[in-house]
């Protein structure tokens, strides 16, 4: 719909196809307690922003749906809901789009089908014994629906830490398997850490300025949660709740899940990285006008690593009844019949300009800027990409 906003601005005739309803992913693919991890003031779409009484709060899912519904009404985007795209094929002068409601011919296509269509679950899940219930964040709604007993949460990014905390609080003992992760405090020097990302220019860093783009594009989400208390949800907070930390899940052998012995290092990497980020914030603040309004710089306690971590977990003994795979998401391009997807399922594009003439993408990690996959990141990206598209149509 952000693309639609800029297409309308340039008087380019277009339609927006949506298989479900407006804001479908927020309606159908999220768990009950989820709130945005981005603060309300940051929820901005072209010509639309949060105007409520709690700019520092975090929206619930119904609030996000309302926010996006209002944006849809405001832009008057020509959305055709309940229309699933089943194929996009190249023709002599553009593309033929097949949907479950008929066909369309167009000169250009903007792929805005999302970066998180499918949970990415590692292959080792196939060797998990049948008696253990396996869930992805798409199946999970709330802890009450899980069997009583122990839960293994695999993955320590935003989804993993949030689910680990709420499941542990429900009385089900949680083991959290952590690989590389991104540690962040919720609040730093009195401001939301995402205020810093924004103000210090980290989020505006362009894709062609990022040193290692492949790595930046596969970076996990930060360990953040949106709560009224603005609480930090790092591994120390989880340890305090009683969650047991283990290393990356690496293999199932004879009904046992084996974990990496490298937990200490991934934790050290995350702590060092956080310190570098905070140092960069402090250096930026010194040069800025806000320094005087900020609290003093601080550094957070190193993450506590258990003296000896568990390396194996018996999945047959009944101690673990459920595994939640919080191991990330991936896009689904099964409907795209144009050879622009690599062997790892990634779209081949340069800042949203896809390697097929007239084909564009939006909403992918670090598409044009570090903020590209966030709600507030779409405006700048959509403006640039649609400018390119308009240029292509005129050429």
């Amino acid at each position: 719909m952000a693309a639609s906003h800029f297409l309308s601005e340039r008087s380019v005739d277009h339609v927006v196809l949506e298989r479900g309803e407006v804001a479908n992913s927020w309606r159908r693919e999220r768990w009950d307690s989820l709130r945005l991890l981005t603060p309300n003031w940051q929820s901005r779409l072209p010509g639309h922003h949060y105007g409520g009484p709690d700019p520092d709060g975090y929206m619930t899912m119904p609030e996000v749906v309302g926010f996006i519904d209002r944006f849809a009404a405001l832009t008057g985007a020509p959305v055709r809901t309940g229309t699933t795209v089943t194929s996009v094929r190249r023709t002599d002068d553009g593309y033929r789009v097949t949907t479950d409601q008929g066909e369309l011919a167009c000169r250009t296509v903007v792929i805005a089908s999302g970066a998180c269509n499918r949970p990415a679950v590692p292959a080792l899940s196939e060797a998990v014994p049948d008696e253990v219930v396996q869930l992805t964040p798409f199946d999970y709604r709330n802890p009450g629906r899980l069997p009583d007993g122990g839960v293994l949460v695999v993955g320590a990014s935003a989804t993993g830490v949030q689910l680990a905390a709420e499941i542990q609080r429900s009385g089900r003992p949680v083991t959290l398997s952590a690989g590389e992760h991104v540690r962040m405090p919720r609040v730093y020097r009195g401001r939301d850490v995402l205020w810093w990302m924004d103000a210090a220019g980290v989020w505006d860093q362009r894709y062609d300025e990022v040193p290692d783009l492949t790595r930046a594009r596969s970076l996990a989400s930060p360990q953040l949660v949106g709560t009224r208390e603005r609480a930090t949800l790092d591994l120390n907070a989880l340890t305090e709740l009683g969650v047991e930390l283990v290393g990356r899940a690496s293999m199932v052998r004879d009904g046992e899940l084996l974990f990496s012995g490298g937990l200490r290092n991934v934790i050290r990497l995350a702590d060092l990285k956080l310190d570098r980020l905070l140092t960069a914030f402090d250096e930026w603040a010194l040069e800025s006008e806000v320094e005087a309004d900020l609290k003093a710089p601080e550094r957070f306690e190193p993450t506590r690593v258990p003296a000896s971590t568990r390396l194996r977990l018996d999945l047959r003994g009944g101690a673990i009844r459920t595994i939640v795979w919080a191991t990330g998401f991936r896009p689904d391009y099964s409907w795209l019949d144009v050879p622009v997807v690599d062997t790892k399922g990634r779209l081949d594009h340069d800042g949203g300009v896809v390697a097929g003439p007239g084909l564009y993408a939006l909403g992918l990690p670090v598409l044009r800027r570090r903020k590209s996959t966030f709600i507030h990141g779409i405006e700048d990206d959509a403006r640039d990409v649609i400018a390119h598209l308009d240029g292509y149509l005129r050429s």
Partner: protein
């Protein structure tokens, strides 16, 4: 760039970066096989040799064959002609992490003056003796201490050490399970 160019830890990072780029599109060439042979001498004394390996689509030989003698110490009622096999794991880990530190330092423009790793593996030998079935055969834990003198802050040195673990073949081989097939031919 000047800082990076003027430091020299003796690692050809340029060649490594070029190899990384080249192999991105050629996964077959990236498949290496490392080999060693072990011959029984007497008692628990063995001699292993390492000479050839393959990779980049071809067979290769080291400049010279290397020989490694393993035995067990006299407290194990053995002849102590060489170190115990499990000590070779420490040798492998220490040399892999240290090499990694030199490479990462070169890439980050950090001049090293000295690097020394001290490794300790905690081993409860009741496992291998079959004295207690709850005790594992291998190490219960390995501790590596690095003493590094370099033109860098403490944080940068810690980041070097962390990154070298992240990219270490032996660290991975020791911390993650590996499928091992042993057969009689």
């Amino acid at each position: 760039m000047t800082a990076v160019d003027s430091i020299d830890n003796g690692v050809n990072v340029q060649a490594l970066l070029e190899a990384r780029e080249a192999l991105k599109g050629a996964p077959e060439a990236a498949q290496f096989t490392w080999r060693s042979t072990t011959r029984w001498e007497n008692g628990v004394h063995t001699t292993s040799t390492v000479k050839d390996y393959s990779g980049l689509g071809a067979d290769h030989e080291h400049k010279a064959e290397s020989t490694f003698v393993a035995d067990h110490p006299e407290v194990f009622a053995a002849t102590d002609n060489g170190i115990t096999p499990i000590e070779y794991l420490l040798v492998g880990l220490g040399s892999c992490l240290t090499a990694g530190i030199a490479s990462v330092a070169q890439n980050r423009g950090i001049q090293l003056r000295s690097v020394e790793a001290t490794l300790e593996g905690a081993h409860d030998i009741r496992g291998i003796l079959g004295a207690d079935s709850d005790v594992r055969n291998g190490y219960n834990g390995i501790k590596v201490s690095f003493n590094i003198d370099a033109d860098a802050s403490k944080e940068d040195i810690e980041a070097l050490v962390a990154q070298s673990q992240k990219r270490s073949a032996v660290f991975d081989a020791l911390t993650n399970p590996t499928d091992v097939t042993v057969e009689v031919v």
